[in-house]
């Protein structure tokens, strides 16, 4: 991802920081946490942070992890891909035909997220450092024992209530799993079925008409068959065998055989 010459631009201090990070990558709470840590090497106010430099630092960090054969969780790699994209947006002149937010907007939001996370950490520390009940401040030790009227008061917490409800509701989930399999139409089944059928559909036809017999009325079966048939149709589009369209949000999805199959 990060090219050689860019890696060289990364200062020694940054590289040392990145290396130290990798050793303890398990101690981090996700990519945002790493970015916040990296941003400290810039030694400026978070509001004046260079997001471009930060993106380079992060990409160097991921590159290094890869070189050291350290496996990073998926979200670290997603962040790397996103930052690579952001970097290109920041470096290239804006393309007027390109839709969506500008690189500056995205960079500003990332800076905002980092500043907000840092602010939350700061106030969390201030909160925990307050004089606290049971540690610095104490409540009455002897609550009054004038036993005169004895009334029984029943209590329950919201937690009790919800756990009770959850208990009842999850009982249903203990049914043997195999019982439910006859309500599942797998994608492979749908694909096989659709492969054969689309050959007979030169015109736009509703996806729902491809549902197998006996899978249209029962909601569980219908839902499963619809999902797998839809997934299968996308697979066929990918293979270049059919075309798919939807005219409007929630409008019927339609398929037809591709005239000039690839």
């Amino acid at each position: 991802m990060a090219e050689e010459f860019e890696e060289d631009q990364v200062s020694v201090a940054e590289r040392l920081a990145a290396e130290a990070l990798i050793v303890d990558v398990d101690g981090f709470e996700g990519p945002l946490d790493v970015l916040l840590m990296l941003s400290r090497t810039q030694k400026v106010d978070l509001r004046r942070i260079s997001v471009l430099a930060l993106a380079r630092q992060y990409l160097a960090f991921v590159e290094k992890a890869r070189a050291l054969r350290i496996e990073l969780a998926a979200d670290y790699l997603v962040m790397a891909a996103w930052l690579a994209f952001l970097k290109s947006r920041l470096l290239l002149p804006p393309d007027p035909t390109e839709e969506g937010p500008s690189g500056e907007d995205l960079a500003a939001h990332l800076a905002f997220q980092l500043e907000r996370l840092q602010a939350m950490r700061d106030v969390a520390a201030r909160l925990m450092a307050r004089d606290r009940l049971g540690r610095d401040i104490f409540a009455r030790g002897i609550t009054e024992d004038v036993t005169r009227i004895r009334r029984v008061k029943y209590t329950a917490t919201l937690l009790d209530l919800m756990q009770g409800y959850a208990r009842i509701r999850t009982r249903d989930e203990f049914r043997p799993f195999v019982m439910d399999r006859d309500a599942v139409f797998t994608m492979e089944q749908a694909l096989e079925r659709l492969r054969g059928l689309v050959g007979y559909a030169p015109d736009w036809t509703d996806l729902s008409s491809y549902l197998p017999d006996g899978w249209q009325s029962d909601p569980m079966r219908r839902r499963s068959a619809t999902a797998s048939t839809f997934a299968a149709s996308l697979e066929l589009v990918k293979e270049g065998r059919v075309e798919i369209r939807q005219t409007d949000l929630f409008a019927p999805i339609q398929l037809r055989q591709r005239k000039d199959p690839r």
């Binding site: 409540a139 009334r151 029943y154 329950a156 049914r175 799993f177 599942v184």
Partner: protein, 221 residues
């Protein structure tokens, strides 16, 4: 108050805190401890050179005629409500007990499914609901009778009360978290929902065999 400040201290290396401070300390200790405290105990807790016996004299005087007194219990001291105000304390003698599991479950069903009939509660819980359980919830004023259902027999229904919402800190019964949120909060085991697994997961071998045997050949081009 502070005119006797210099008297104790003795030959101690560190100067003892002023008497006003010592009085504050005794006050805080007597307030926070669960049992009466002896003078020796006070001395052990307070900084070196303090004179808790004298601080107690000041403190007792300060609380004379107040709603709370410093009283001597054996050779120890404690703070107690003034005897003439005992009538205000009746509320403190309330004994709290946890609601039974049956009652909690019944209450939860009413809250999530209201208006709900007794038969419906039994169907959801899978066991019959004892008369006492419903009576207890009615008595607690957490549930009340709702409108009758327009089904054969016109059974009465139950709904939750404002008292219920107040007790559980809810603004309305609609604010009760749903199953999804219960799971998100970790209150529910994250078991795979029935039927949901097979769809995305890799198909077992048997499935493939079945397909092969079926229509596949017919439609092969």
């Amino acid at each position: 108050m502070s005119d006797q400040t210099d008297t104790p201290g003795r030959d101690s290396l560190f100067e003892a805190p002023p008497m006003g401070e010592q009085e504050r300390m005794v006050e805080a200790i007597l307030f926070a401890t669960a049992d009466p405290v002896t003078v020796a105990d006070l001395a052990a807790r307070m900084p070196h050179g303090c004179d808790p016996a004298e601080a107690l004299v000041h403190l007792r005087r300060r609380y004379e005629g107040r709603g709370v007194h410093v009283v001597k219990v054996g050779d120890a001291y404690a703070m107690r409500t003034a005897a003439d105000l005992g009538f205000l304390m009746q509320k403190e003698t309330v004994e709290t007990r946890k609601l039974s599991r049956a009652a909690i479950e019944t209450l939860a069903i009413v809250a999530y499914h209201q208006p709900v009939t007794r038969a419906e509660i039994e169907e959801i819980r899978g066991v019959s609901v004892s008369r006492g359980t419903i009576d207890q919830l009615l008595e607690l004023e957490w549930i009340r009778f709702g409108r009758r259902k327009m089904t054969p027999g016109r059974p009465v229904t139950f709904v939750v009360t404002q008292g219920f919402l107040d007790h559980f800190g809810l603004e309305s019964a609609r604010d009760l978290p749903g199953l999804k949120e219960l799971r998100a909060a970790g209150l529910l085991e994250n078991r795979p929902p029935p039927g949901a697994l097979g769809i995305g997961g890799s198909p077992g071998d048997e499935d493939e065999d079945e397909i092969d045997a079926g229509q596949t050949e017919l439609f092969e081009d």
